[in-house]
């Protein structure tokens, strides 16, 4: 499914500008530990986290992640958003908890691998 479909289905708010929202999402990943995402996340996945530190953009770029969803209305820092926009990594926010976001993605058919 496309990222823009997810955005609509889950009522996500897109915080970056000029990023590609039409890319395919083929799997899902949830973790706040950057080392874990680097080790295990797959390219094309949508990453759910509460981490809003600048490092998440570098990790997402490195792994070919389709987009990052921040849970609990987490507001990303300005420098995180700027870097994400520059590197074409969409960052979205949701009022749902990470558990519920993952649950919804799972219900839509996404899996971890």
């Amino acid at each position: 499914m496309k990222l823009c479909d997810l955005i609509e289905d889950l009522s996500l708010e897109v915080k970056t500008s000029g990023t590609d929202l039409t890319r395919e999402v083929t799997s899902g990943y949830v973790s706040d530990m950057l080392s874990d995402v680097i080790a295990n996340a797959q390219a094309g996945s949508v990453w759910v986290t509460f981490q809003s530190h600048l490092n998440i953009v570098a990790v997402a770029s490195l792994k070919g992640i389709s987009g990052i969803i921040l849970a609990n209305n987490r507001v990303p820092a300005d420098d995180t958003l700027k870097r994400a926009s520059m590197e074409n990594i969409p960052i979205m926010t949701s009022s749902l908890t990470a558990f519920e976001l993952v649950g919804r993605l799972y219900t839509l058919g996404l899996r971890c691998r």
Binding site: D32, V102, L110
Partner: protein
């Protein structure tokens, strides 16, 4: 749902002694950052995490959480397990990813907030 039902849904092993599998658990959260657990979790919920250090148990104690599921087969060390036993916090380990663990439990009706958001 009960802890026993949760164990079955995510195919977990129980690693603490004398855990009460009939314990009712109404809510679940997943997180690896402990301050987020403290900011958002509600008493008597289940924590799903990949972090296995002693602070996870202390966070669960301070936040009055009901049980912890560790994902990806991760397991805390003996001292940490003993600490959890002394605080009556059951620990479970599943080989599933955090994503699939949360997904399965959500599918069976578990939510983060009372009343649930569907």
């Amino acid at each position: 749902m009960t802890l026993g039902e949760i164990r079955g849904i995510v195919e977990a092993l129980v690693i603490t002694k004398s855990a009460d599998m009939n314990r009712e658990i109404g809510r679940a959260y997943c997180a690896d950052l402990m301050s987020d657990v403290l900011a958002f979790s509600v008493t008597h919920s289940l924590l799903i995490t990949g972090l296995t250090n002693a602070q996870v148990i202390r966070t669960a104690d301070v936040a009055d959480l009901r049980a912890i599921v560790f994902v990806q087969g991760k397991r805390p060390d003996i001292e940490t397990i003993a600490m959890a036993e002394s605080k009556d916090i059951p620990l479970l380990v599943t080989g599933l990813s955090m994503f699939d663990t949360c997904g399965r439990l959500y599918e069976k009706g578990l939510r983060s907030r009372p009343g649930g958001i569907s």
